[in-house]
C-alpha cells in the first residue's frame, strides 16, 4: 500500500515538474527601440532585453497547470475572472477539447487565467510593446515593418480560418528564434487595455486619433501595416474576462538586474 502511494506521489511530482522543465523553452530578446504603429514619428519605444517563450502555451501545458491550480478549472473559475466561454470546448475540468491536439495552443482563456498561469511558473505576460517588438521580426530581419511581403503574409494568415487548431511551431521561426508570432492565434499581453480606442457608444476616453482606421489613420506611422491596425483594434475591443477561441498567450520573463 505504502509502495503504491509512493508511486502515485512520484508520478504526481513528475507531472508537476513538467512545467518547471519547460522553463528553458525561452529565447533571449535583445532590447532595442522601435516605432510602434500607434506612435507618432518621433515616439520611439524602447524595450529592455527580456526572455520570451518560443511557443504559445499548449493545451497539454495548460492541463498540467489546471491539475495543480484547481481554482482555474472550468467548473471552479469565478465569473469575475472568466466569461462563460472559458474552456468552452472542454468536456470537463480535466478533459481538454477533443478536437484540439495536445500540442495546439490553449485558447478560450481569459486574461486573468493567462496571467495566473505565467505567475504560477515565475513568469509574466509580455507587454504589448515587447510583443510587437518581437512580432515585427521576420525570419531574417529584426525589423520587417517595411517588408510588404511580410505584412501581406500576416494579413493572409488573419484571413485563414481556424488556425488555432494547428500545432505550435507549425508557422515560421523568426529572427529571434520565436515561433508562431503570426498565423496561429492572437495573444494576450499584460497591458492590452492600454489601447484607448472605444466603441462609438462610449464617450469615456480622449480618443487616440492615430488608432482610428478612418480619417485618423493618416497619422499612422506606416500605412502598410494594416495587420497591426487589426491587432490594436482587436485589443481595444476586448475585456479581460473574455475567452475567445482564437486568442491564446505565451509568457515572458524579465532578466534579473
Amino acid at each position: 500500500m505504502k509502495r503504491i502511494s509512493f508511486i502515485v506521489l512520484s508520478i504526481f511530482f513528475i507531472q508537476t515538474n513538467f512545467l518547471a522543465q519547460d522553463m528553458p523553452a525561452m529565447k533571449r530578446i535583445n532590447g532595442g527601440d522601435f516605432v510602434p504603429l500607434y506612435g507618432s514619428n518621433e515616439a520611439r519605444v524602447s524595450v529592455e532585453t527580456f526572455l520570451l517563450d518560443i511557443y504559445p502555451v499548449t493545451n497539454e501545458q495548460y492541463l498540467s497547470f489546471l491539475k495543480t491550480n484547481p481554482k482555474w478549472q472550468k467548473s471552479k473559475v469565478i465569473s469575475l475572472f472568466a466569461d462563460k466561454n472559458y474552456l468552452s470546448k472542454w468536456e470537463n475540468d480535466l478533459s481538454p477539447n477533443k478536437e484540439a491536439l495536445p500540442n495546439s495552443p490553449i485558447t478560450n482563456i481569459s486574461w486573468y487565467a493567462a496571467k495566473a498561469y505565467c505567475d504560477c511558473i515565475g513568469k509574466r505576460l509580455p507587454t504589448m510593446d515587447e510583443w510587437e517588438y518581437v512580432a515585427m521580426a521576420s525570419e531574417t530581419k529584426r525589423n520587417a515593418q517595411r517588408d510588404s511581403l511580410f505584412n501581406q503574409r500576416i494579413i493572409e494568415s488573419y484571413e485563414t480560418p481556424q488556425t488555432y487548431k494547428k500545432e505550435v511551431g507549425s508557422t515560421y521561426k523568426n529572427y529571434w528564434g520565436i515561433y508562431d508570432m503570426h498565423g496561429l492565434v492572437w495573444e494576450w499581453t499584460s497591458d492590452f487595455n492600454s489601447v484607448l480606442i472605444s466603441g462609438e457608444s462610449r464617450k469615456d476616453v480622449d480618443t487616440d486619433k492615430s488608432l482610428f482606421c478612418a480619417g485618423g489613420s493618416v497619422n499612422a506611422t506606416d500605412l502598410m501595416d494594416y495587420a497591426a491596425f487589426m491587432r490594436y483594434a482587436f485589443r481595444g475591443s476586448i475585456k479581460a474576462n473574455y475567452c475567445i477561441q482564437s486568442l491564446g498567450f505565451r509568457c515572458a520573463k524579465s532578466l534579473k538586474k
Binding site: 469565478i78 465569473s79 469575475l80 475572472f81 486574461w111 486573468y112 496571467k115 509574466r124 499584460s190 497591458d191 487595455n193 492600454s194 489601447v195 484607448l196 472605444s198 462610449r202 464617450k203 469615456d204 476616453v205 480622449d206 487616440d208 481595444g236 475585456k239 479581460a240 474576462n241
Partner: protein, 238 residues
Amino acid sequence: MRRNKLSFFLFLSFLFFIASCHQETHDTLPYQCPMKCEGEKIYSEKGTCPVCNMDTQPIEEKILQSENEDEILETSIFNLTSKWNTQNKETIELKDLKGDVLVIVMIYTSCKAACPRLVADMRNIYASVNDKTTKYILVSIDPETDTPERLKEFAIENQMDNNQWVFLQGTVEDVREFSNVLAVKYKRISPLDFSHSNIISVFDQQGVLVHQQEGLGVDNEETIAEIMALSKAVQEVN
C-alpha cells in the same frame, strides 16, 4: 417494497440535486418584499407585496442577505487578493472595504487635464449623497509617483481628507489588474502623463459592480440615485 422506497429516496435526492444546480443558474431565485413587510417571508415567483404593494425582489440582489459574512460573491471585486497602501499608510485588501457602498475612480495626482474634473465629480457626488458610510475611493494609475505621502497631500489640498475618502497605491501590476476589473483603460504617454478612461464605478456592499458613469461633465444624477438607494437599504436593515 424496500427497494421501491430506496429508489424513491434516490429519485428525491436526484430532484434535490437538479434543484440545487438550478439555483446556481439563478433561474428560480426566491423573491422577497424589499421592505420586509412580512418579515422573512419569501415567494417563489415575482409579484407584489400584499402589504405595501411594492414589487418583490430576488433575494440574491438584496443586501446583507448573505448568511455567511465571509462569503464572497463570484462577481465581487473582493475576490482580488492584491494589497494596497492608503494615504494614511495603512495596508489593506479590497475586502477590508466590505459592507459599505464603494464609489471608485482611477486618477493620478499630477494630472492636469481630465482628473481635476473627475475629482470634482467625485466631490459633487459625495456632497449630494451626503451620508456617513459610503466610501469614495481614488486609485492611482501612477503608483510610482503617487506615494501614500503624495496621496495624503492631494487629499488635503482637495478637501477629501476624512474617513470616507480612501486613496490607494498598488503595484504597477495590481493597478493594471484592477483597471481590467473596472474596464478602465490607460496608457503612459509621456514620463509624466497618462491617457485614461474617465469612468466612475459604483459597487454595492458585497463588492459587485452596479453602475458606471462614463465621460466627463456628464450628469451625476443617476449615479447619485444609485448610491443613495444602496446606502439607504443598508441603513434600514440596520
